[in-house]
Assembly symmetry: C2
Homo-oligomer: 289 residues x 2
């Protein structure tokens, strides 16, 4: 198959570029650390030139934080409900690169935004990896819960779960207590049980320190317990009972979320996030040919 275009998943800390065939097949993947935080405004033309030299002088479509006010060129958010057709209409073009807008939500007093996750979610639906009515979970520094209805993103919520864990591990009173490995096990599950539906997360977090001081939590299990607390609170923030959650993740973090989702009385299935991204951006490319 011959290369037709280049798709870029350009996030905060990482970048993945995919050489794509016209039928959506991924021919080559290039991954590096040239995320938005590693680049200055003037670096982007050179970055694009390097990618063209590597992957060929082809049309490019980029999604993620590259389209934010901290990235290359701001692509204004599309308000939910949003589907791939809405996104395709609002691509922002700069130097031969089409930048995908993010999606925003204003619902009563709630405000939320996403950039990049929308391509994965809508791509999963477009590729038949998930149904057109589905709930997605995208664990990471900022976990997204995304509701898709009739193939459109209709609601979503971002939880700062990974970031809170990193802040607590790196600074403050719990620093030095959370350096152990985070793994599924009794401590993680105790944390999930404490965190699920908790209205007192700032209290539960201090209990990590108190339980270690009082000897009811082993120091080496503190990181798993704290991670369980935060992931439990994250999962418990959603009304999941009896639902199926499509986890756009793989590896250890996906496994931890699957455990917490099961503890909340729901079930989960994994969707390959890279395949979902490729499918979504392929559909965007088709919509704009």
């Amino acid at each position: 198959m011959s290369p037709a275009f280049v798709a870029i998943d350009w996030g905060t800390t990482n970048r993945r570029a995919y050489l794509m065939a016209a039928d959506g097949a991924v021919l080559t993947t290039v991954r590096d650390g040239s995320g938005v935080l590693a680049l200055s405004a003037g670096d982007y033309p050179g970055e694009i030139a390097t990618l063209r030299a590597t992957l060929g002088d082809l049309p490019m479509i980029a999604a993620g934080m590259v389209g934010s006010n901290r990235g290359w060129r701001e692509a204004p958010y599309v308000a939910a409900p949003a589907d791939l057709a809405t996104l395709a209409e609002r691509l922002v073009r700069v130097e031969g690169v089409a930048i995908v807008p993010g999606v925003s939500l204003l619902q009563g007093t709630r405000a939320d935004v996403m950039r990049g996750e929308e391509v994965q979610v809508l791509g999963a639906v477009a590729a038949g990896l998930a149904p057109a009515d589905a709930l997605f979970c995208q664990p990471g520094t900022h976990n997204k819960w995304v509701t898709v209805t009739g193939g459109r993103i209709t609601d979503f919520a971002t939880a700062m779960t990974g970031e809170l864990f990193a802040l607590l591990r790196g600074h403050g009173i719990l620093a030095g207590m959370l350096d152990g490995e985070v793994a599924d096990g009794p401590a993680f599950r105790d944390g999930v049980a404490r965190g699920l539906g908790a209205r007192d997360l700032p209290v539960a977090l201090f209990e990590v320190r108190a339980a270690v001081l009082l000897g009811t939590l082993k120091p080496e299990a503190a990181a798993s317990f704290a991670s369980g607390l935060l992931i439990g609170a994250d999962v418990g923030s959603q009304d999941l009972r009896g639902r199926n959650v499509h986890l756009l993740a793989s590896g250890a973090l996906a496994d931890l979320y699957a455990v917490a989702i099961a503890a909340a009385g729901a079930h989960s299935s994994s969707v390959d996030s890279h395949a979902a991204f490729a499918a979504g951006i392929h559909r965007l490319w088709e919509l704009t040919r």
Copy 2:
């Protein structure tokens, strides 16, 4: 009145030494930044010598983090329920200084600890500044909710509210958004309303960023909104409806908690925390004469 003893409130970052008369009157107060974090294990004898040179060669009683495993000499926790008599029996003596133990709680899966706050709370009751059955709130880096029943500390919970605000302001995705002044007003009260009883605090926190990006929250109001979220979640973690909360605090932070406590359907009254500490430590001194 002649000086009878020296009381020291020796915390993590601050230290207050009070020259006390036998009847509990405070004759002199010395305040400095020689908290536990500023000192090494070997610094304490010299610190005590300096205090004696300033305030006189008198018996000394010290409470707070000075008795923790990060302080001078560890004074093991007394398990709740605890009153001043229990604390007096368990003073740890080192080089002429009596160190007050902290209080611990193990209740089901909940663990909590305090050091120093117990003297304020029980002192407030001993001095008649609050009744023998009362709920206390001690705002700060780690806010304590303390239930006193029949003059004994029977239950308490620590919320990492101030620390979470400081972590979010100093690091991560909200850093740079929370540098404004925190003050009561519509933004703070909106935050309190969002945070009270919230099961999704990690989601609510991300809304600060989204609301600023989408223009529904003015950047200069973001700090007040975020503080309202955290204080609202803190206050909402307790079952307060119709209760009276004794606030061991003064100044701006006490005012913010009073607003949030009112929003939770409760009322609050302020107790002077320095007077309460002096009363508590005076009673401990009397009990051990």
